[in-house]
């Protein structure tokens, strides 16, 4: 017996954190108005010592809380967009390959293999180095390494679905192959891919942070990775500069992962206990 999604404790915990995060990201301009990179006070105020600047300030005197809130925006935006692009691209290619079969399938799946053997992070690194860092390049770069998972899953699911009776019925009714593939089969192949999507979101948030850490993020927007990288120079004297965005990153990834886990269990009917 599977419990519904919302009765799982991990779903509640993860969902609550994730919801709060999305709210913070969405309402960032209201919670922390103005330019988050503006110089707000004395540099290097430690956290919890100044009521006006609760998390303190960084090396240049920028408000750490404002940076954190606006950084959530970047993380959530990049995480969700990259997952969306990856799932969309993966589903399309996977469904086409699974439904068409033969030479087309072989060709498409070899392309998937080619992308899969290159480590996703290296691919993203190379892509951003060539294209120059901006938010959308980073999203594409991350999706580039993440779409192969959904593609393989979708293909596997389509392979079993295309022999079903309703597909034969659709053929008899005279539907075109493309219509059958994308309107009849793809929606049914979606659930397992959606379950993987949450893992892609978590990975995308991490990849984005790693890219920014290496200086390949968009320097005109705040990102947690760049905050950690900036703080690293002061790690011995002002460790909070790296630790605070680090905690934010950990919470985001864990909550996304918990939601994904719960989603997988309830969608696939798998229950460990």
């Amino acid at each position: 017996m599977t419990r519904p999604f919302l009765r799982r404790p991990e779903a509640l915990l993860g969902g609550a954190i994730l919801l709060a995060l999305i709210l913070i990201a969405g309402l960032a301009p209201l919670i922390a108005p103005g330019d988050p990179l503006a110089i707000a006070g004395r540099p290097l105020i430690p956290p919890f010592t100044d009521a006006g600047l609760p998390l303190g300030t960084d090396r240049l005197g920028r408000d750490l809380l404002a940076e954190l809130i606006h950084g959530a925006r970047t993380s959530v935006a990049v995480g969700l967009s990259a997952a969306l692009v990856a799932v969309f691209a993966g589903m399309t290619v996977g469904t086409a390959a699974g439904f068409a079969g033969g030479a087309i399938e072989a060709a498409l799946m070899r392309i998937v293999d080619a992308f899969q053997i290159v480590p996703g992070f290296l691919l993203a690194l190379a892509f951003v180095s060539v294209m120059g860092p901006s938010l959308w390049v980073v999203v594409l770069a991350i999706a580039l390494g993440a779409w192969t998972g959904p593609a393989r899953l979708a293909r596997a699911r389509v392979l079993s679905l295309r022999e079903s009776d309703f597909v034969a019925a659709a053929k008899v009714m005279g539907m075109s192959p493309a219509e059958i593939a994308f309107r009849q089969i793809m929606p049914l192949a979606l659930p397992p891919v959606l379950a993987v999507a949450s893992v892609i979101v978590a990975a995308a948030v991490l990849t984005e942070a790693a890219l920014s850490f290496l200086g390949l993020g968009d320097p005109n927007s705040v990102t947690w990775g760049a905050m950690i990288a900036e703080g690293r120079n002061q790690l011995r004297s002002a460790a909070y500069l790296s630790i605070i965005p680090g905690i934010a990153l950990v919470l985001t990834v864990i909550s996304t992962y918990l939601v994904g886990e719960a989603l997988t269990d309830s969608l696939t009917g798998r229950d460990k206990r």
Binding site: I39, P43, G61, R62, G215, P219, N233, R236, S237, A238
Partner: protein, 531 residues
């Protein structure tokens, strides 16, 4: 009984083993010692006669020597390969007397032919600084093996050439380079010179090894047995290696400024700020005058007024810098003048200037947008980029930071001119004619790094620079360069923000530290290790 293995037994055994491996190294250190230095970059081209830059000198100056080195003594120069120099009255020739009894690392004797070859075949046609400095050099005569006479087509001030000697005059062995493609010669990777240290080994990503030159011309020199430059690109790693005693010296501020206070308190380590006086960097805002908005003097003045230099010194340089008043740093003993136009931090004045120039605040308080390219080579230039973006936002200028890696930045700014404002660490090298006037003189070919690539052209300033270049009388030269500073600060072809020199963190066992104003990039013959 003896078969039982106790934890204590194993520990003492291990300790004894460790001690026995450490012993020979300690014994060796008492002889002359191995100095281990943190190196934060690995220059691709190591030949100092071709690339006269501090990153190259840091390693290669120990192997290949110039004619003279900078000195704290009166006159400012210490003879190395040249023992004396004298200019003719008409300024058309300079005669160098060369040191006797010097030989190259491969045993061949050093003669005036090597100097003539280096000057005519390397410094003048190939070297980044020599190309302009020796543009009027016609021939180098070698009447005997220990005399070299430089003949110029136009009067050339001895003061300028002498000031430039430590930077431009690295002498290469003629017998190694003659008849080959000098830029591609294998000796550029395994250097051959006359210096106190010979080329040892290079492992990319690991270390450079230089070993003692036993037949060095200096009596009883060098003191060290060898020098290892350990490649430590991570600045935090340099600090912890010093604390662990794995490295004796980290130069060029490779320990982050924020860590210096803490490091200074570590027993056995000291922070040294001397030894960089002749290589003062300036934090400079380069301006692209092709951008219509920036060709308006009022806009440039507004930008200058928007920069809070006190804030920059306190938060970015943590006090290890001085406010710059103009293109010559205040620590220069000869040419500096404080009597120039200054731009105090004044946001209201900056906004008024922009209003007067006709750039009124649009919706959201923004007047116009600019591309800002901070040079990626130093943490300070990148941080100043972040600061300048905010400082400009405060007066209604929206500056978008365009990031590049080092090679990309040089191409974008100096070749493609794809910038509006750039932040550069320009270097003042003892004389404005060496690497400073080139920053504002018009007519620089595209692609020359650290030159005027902002399209600035001011005929009056050009005339002044040209006149100073052929003025022989030192007093008149100095007066002309003081006018030069006044003109630059009045018309702002670029904005000088801070005079900035470096810090070294040195283990107390190192002796002979900071003995000249270019110590870090000098030959270290007098540097040693004490126990």
């Amino acid at each position: 009984m003896f078969a039982t293995i106790s934890r204590r037994g194993v520990l003492t055994g291990t300790a004894a083993l460790l001690a026995s491996t450490a012993l020979p190294r300690l014994a060796l250190a008492q002889g002359g010692g191995r100095l281990i230095v943190a190196a934060d970059s690995e220059p691709r081209q190591l030949n100092p006669a071709i690339v006269a830059s501090n990153g190259v000198f840091f390693i290669s100056s120990k192997v290949i020597e110039p004619l003279a080195e900078a000195s704290y003594d009166a006159g400012g120069l210490k003879p190395l390969l040249a023992t004396g120099w004298e200019g003719s009255e008409d300024g058309l020739s300079i005669t160098f007397a060369l040191r006797e009894g010097v030989s190259w690392h491969d045993g061949t004797p050093f003669t005036s032919a090597d100097v003539a070859f280096s000057a005519m075949e390397v410094w003048k046609p190939l070297q980044n600084i020599g190309r302009s400095l020796f543009a009027n050099l016609e021939t180098v005569e070698t009447p005997d093996p220990l005399t070299a006479i430089f003949r110029f087509s136009k009067p050339t001030p001895l003061q300028l050439i002498a000031n430039a000697l430590p930077v431009v005059s690295s002498v290469l062995p003629k017998h190694v380079y003659e008849g080959s493609d000098i830029a591609e010669n294998p000796a550029n990777r395994a250097l051959i010179g006359t210096g106190p240290f010979k080329w040892g080994d290079y492992r990319p990503g690991e270390y450079y090894l230089l070993t003692r030159n036993d037949s060095y011309w200096g009596e009883g020199l060098p003191h060290l047995d060898d020098i290892v430059f350990r490649v430590l690109p991570d600045r935090a790693a340099a600090a912890s290696s010093l604390e662990a005693g794995e490295v004796h010296l980290a130069a060029f501020s490779s320990v982050p400024l924020a860590d210096l206070d803490r490091i200074a308190k570590v027993p056995g380590l000291s922070v040294v700020t001397r030894g960089y006086e002749a290589l003062t960097y300036q934090l400079t805002v380069e301006i692209n005058h092709r951008t219509g908005i920036l060709s308006d003097l009022k806009v440039r003045q507004a930008i200058a007024h928007a920069i809070d230099k006190d804030f920059v010194l306190d938060t970015i340089f943590l006090g290890y810098a001085e406010k710059a008043t103009g293109p010559v740093p205040a620590n220069d003993p000869t040419f500096y003048t404080p009597d120039v136009t200054t731009y105090p931090f004044d946001i209201a004045a900056a906004k008024d200037l922009l209003d007067e120039a006709g750039y009124r605040e649009g919706p959201g308080g923004t007047r116009f947008s600019l591309r800002l390219l901070p040079a990626p080579y130093f943490a300070e230039t990148r941080q100043f980029g972040d600061y300048l973006r905010q400082a400009l936002a405060a007066i209604g200028i929206d500056a978008q930071i365009v990031p590049h890696d080092a090679a990309g930045h040089i191409k974008a700014v100096y070749t493609d001119h794809a910038f509006d404002l750039a932040i550069a660490p320009t270097v003042f090298r003892a004389d404005p004619a060496i690497s400073t006037t080139i920053l504002v003189r018009s007519g620089q070919p595209d692609g020359v790094p650290f030159s005027n690539q902002g399209g600035y052209a001011n005929p009056d300033l050009d005339a002044l620079i040209d006149e100073a270049l052929v003025t022989l009388d030192p007093g008149k030269r100095v007066a002309l360069y003081k006018d030069f500073q006044r003109m630059v600060t009045a018309d702002l072809p670029l904005i000088n923000v801070a005079d900035w020199s470096f810090t070294s963190v040195v283990a107390d066992s190192v002796t002979g530290v900071a003995t000249n104003p270019r110590w870090v990039v000098s030959n270290w013959a007098e540097t040693g290790l004490s126990e």
